[in-house]
Point group: C2
Chain length 192, copies 2
DNA sequence: CGTCTATTTGAATGTACTCAAAAGCGGTGG
DNA sequence: CCACCGCTTTTGAGTACATTCAAATAGACG
């Protein structure tokens, strides 16, 4: 099991003894998802928090008219999960889907809750991670309120510069909240 | 100092001994904001987390063209703050403004950090509060991507049914991300 | 090579914005 | 108590942004 990346990720926020590291690692399961495979699906209860070792995935839903909308993309070194489902233990609202071969480490929510009790530093870490993700999503809301699709795309290219090359532009359109047709025209304009 | 509401709010997530309660309460400062007064402003470093005892406030920013956009409204029993500024200690990105006479209790970020160390249950509570707020904001993003202004307004009326009567419709428009003019027309249609 | 999906292009339509002006409404001072 | 002021809301007309549906083209993958 490749644990280098996740230990570095953790070390950004808390420091662990060797014993604590080993205990944490004992809770992890390694999984590999193929391109287009689902890590979790709408309607299913999401019971794990997932750390991405390699690869890339998208979190999206499908509206009443059958259209997909993308909440975010995540790649190496990011945590993903259907947080609503995880915390309420109710059926999930999102699909999380691999966009290429994706290797992950998962921890069960039940194990995580025990971990919080046993090593409270982990509660701190996930508090901080959640705070950061929350701030990020606040920004996304504000961008949606004030900016045109083209301006949002500019921000997108900067934020996702690391993985943008492997995203089909249809997927980018679904993230920006415009149709693929409109996105195609928009991109053409900005290139000219 | 009126501490009933905040103690009930806390009791929803963690249980405290009398001693812990007293220590927590000793960290609070009581403040009253008049209508239109700012609890925190863009550019200022936000150093406190604020609990609303009575009243109502809005969190908004002003874009490059001088237009306001509202992230959310908060009333009695809610926590507010410019989280980005609080966690990074950098100048804030939001204005938080009272919309009527608003009585609050504040805790300094520095005291909160000490509190986390002294009584880790509080770290749990704020982890949970942040998770819930994050999920809420994820939903807001998805609504923005898939729904028309009118559909978003339907959701808004349900979510804010408790305080909608005291919100000028200009403010609702700024929350929905449409112009007041368009909102006026939209509302007229849906009433007919 | 053929099939399936993604992307582009075209034309018509709908949603929402801009600018301008009128009407309504609440608070303040004389 | 009324008149005025400033702000909100409404209405109108023209425009821009973005969608829909349809069809053509280009790419990816088995």
């Amino acid at each position: 099991m490749n644990t280098d990346l996740i230990l570095k990720n953790i070390a950004k926020h808390i420091s662990l003894t060797e014993e604590e590291k080993l205990y944490f690692l004992s809770l992890l399961k390694e999984l590999t998802f193929k391109n287009k495979q689902y890590i979790t699906q709408e309607g299913a209860i999401c019971k794990h928090v997932t750390f991405i070792n390699t690869g890339c995935c998208r979190t999206f839903n499908i509206d009443n008219n059958g259209f997909e909308h993308i909440l975010n993309f995540a790649s190496q070194d990011y945590w993903v999960g259907d947080l609503y489902s995880i915390i309420t233990k109710k059926p999930g609202v999102f699909f999380i889907q691999a966009m290429e071969k994706t290797e992950v480490l998962q921890i069960a929510k039940s194990d995580l809750d025990n971990l919080y009790l046993k090593i409270p530093k982990f509660e701190r870490m996930f508090r901080i991670l959640t705070e950061n993700a929350y701030v990020d999503t606040q920004n996304r809301v504000m961008e949606g309120l004030g900016l045109t699709a083209s301006e949002r795309y500019d921000i997108f290219t900067k934020k996702y510069s690391g993985i943008i090359h492997l995203l089909p532009q249809k997927q980018i359109a679904l993230y920006l909240g415009v149709t693929p047709e409109f996105f195609s025209r928009m991109k053409k304009k900005s290139n000219s």
